[in-house]
């Protein structure tokens, strides 16, 4: 897999030598990019790790080694414990919302719908907008005295009116609503691409065998979409583990840190509080959470592609 060159080529030594030279040149051409990413990703992560075990918790840089003290402090801090819980709740609810709604939309659009492109574009457009913009819009939509509550009132659904993000018990779900609004189109697009890849013959075969539409989806189509679900879980999951802008713009830390997440804690600790070592420790925890999800996926998807 590594090289395709010599076997297919005429054996003239001149050509072969030139091609070998070109392979060296190829490596040389990508070298600047690799070095840049090497330094800015891996080098900087290493440096962040170094800061995380240092005593640099004031405006004056102090890189003396303090071991894992910053991490110990972090995991004992009330705020970080809430952050981890919020991240888990947010991720679970956000994934459930995006997968459920995305699958529903994709299956609906797969029924030979008139005006499919229009619907698809409407469900997908929030993805093109920044988290800051959608946070700004949803902050007003979910302000209890206005927005969605007014609509519910007008529809006679007063019972569904809610204090939204002003109530610490449910505040985090208000952010989930905004996040699902923004990213469910992504799962819809992925599922739709998957559904389009399933041949009509297969569907017909199942129907001929007497399967109802429901059985067709439940037992034939849904299992075929499993790899797509996995990809969507990884992509959306890693987004939600590092979520920052949306919460920052919409609710900030929220009442009693009820919408606080590690991304916000890191930002405030580092750039508002000048506690760089603690900020670095939070960043490292975030990185580890993302790495646990992403690295197996990277290995899986670059391996799976090898026997082309």
């Amino acid at each position: 897999m590594a090289t395709i060159a010599p076997a297919h080529l005429p054996p003239q030594p001149l050509v072969r030598r030139r091609i070998r030279k070109d392979y060296a040149l190829a490596a040389l051409i990508v070298l600047p990019s690799l070095l840049a990413v090497g330094v800015f990703v891996y080098g900087f992560i290493g440096w962040t790790g170094y800061v995380a075990v240092s005593g640099w918790n004031s405006f004056v840089p102090d890189l003396s080694f303090v071991g894992l003290r910053n991490f110990a402090d972090l995991f004992q801090s009330f705020r970080f414990q809430i952050d981890l819980r919020n991240t888990l709740i947010f991720t679970a609810a956000f994934l459930a919302g995006c997968l459920g709604l995305g699958l529903l939309l994709a299956v609906l659009l797969d029924q030979k719908v008139r005006g499919e492109a229009v619907f698809r574009n409407i469900y997908l457009f929030p993805m093109s907008i920044s988290f800051i913009v959608s946070g700004t819009a949803w902050q007003w939509l979910l302000t209890p005295s206005t927005g969605v509550n007014l609509l519910l009132e007008a529809a006679g659904l007063d019972r569904l009116k809610s204090p939204w993000f002003t109530d610490p018990k449910i505040a985090i779900y208000s952010v989930v609503i905004a996040a699902v609004w923004q990213l469910s189109g992504f799962t819809m697009a992925m599922y739709l691409a998957g559904l389009r890849g399933i041949s009509d013959e297969l569907r017909e075969a199942a129907r001929v065998d007497g399967a109802s539409e429901w059985q067709l989806y439940r037992h034939v189509i849904l299992p075929l979409l499993t790899p797509i679900t996995l990809s969507a879980v990884i992509v959306l999951g890693h987004i939600s583990l590092k979520i920052f802008d949306l919460v920052f713009a919409m609710t900030g830390s929220g009442p009693a840190f009820s919408t606080d997440v590690p991304g916000i804690f890191m930002f405030e600790t580092t750039f508002r509080g000048n506690r760089f070592a603690e900020g670095a420790a939070i960043a490292i925890v975030m990185l580890l959470m993302v790495a646990v999800v992403v690295i197996p996926y990277l290995v899986w998807s670059t391996r799976a592609e090898a026997p082309e």
Partner: protein, 278 residues
Amino acid sequence: MRRPARIFMYLLLVTLALGYLLPVYVLVNNGLKSFQEVSLSRMWEPPSRLSLDSFAQAYRRLAPNFRNSLLLVVPATIGAAVLGSINGYVLAKWKFAGADVVFPLLLFGMFIPYQSVLIPLVQFLQWVGRTFDIRLYGSITGLVLVHIIYGIPITTLIFRNYYASVPSEVVEAARIDGAGLAGTYRHVILPLSMPGFVVVIIWEVTQVWNEFLFAVAITGNPARQPIQVALRNLAGSQIVEWNVQMAGALLAALPPLLVYVFLGRYFLRGLLAGALKG
């Protein structure tokens, strides 16, 4: 499907579509009201008379930042796209020893939480400023550099997958005809690259335009901030009227929305590439 079921299905599709459009309606509707008419309890009522006052005020406040974002997006996108194309070509068609190891390592760079590089990044940009007298920290130039570098993984991925669909025979034929690495790129690959560039450019434009964390950490001075940071300051302010905030949000959303409306098909492709195997 039976007829009642189809009617129910369309009803569901339309209801959901209206739901997705709610935030846009609120932004446009209240952005277009005059200051006298703005009221939280009448958020959903259309304006009795169209007024562009809120937009004018939002524009006055955000115009310099809008310009900053343009100055950021154009060079960052070009830089990341060019590097991605070259890297993608090499990694797809000239798999040097170790290329298969390097690629996943490169890809990991697009998944990391940028918080994990932020402290060294700021230190590095400040250090460059002190040592070489090049202003990177607190400037759009610095932000351009940052976006080019952290854009490399995704642009390389999109181009590599795109070039992988070019038959290897075409490349080999060029090789046997005497074209080298550079010659093959210029005469065979580049002329085929247009669709790849469209996808990458659209992706980078929206990403860089919408990005917030690097922007807020690197550009301190309000005059140098890109639009998202300025919008955040506007929306977080207690003294700015909320209809101005909404007009501002719409202004900040406009370029990516236009890109999406006119080139949505390509936007989708970039999106699915992020899932590694679209």
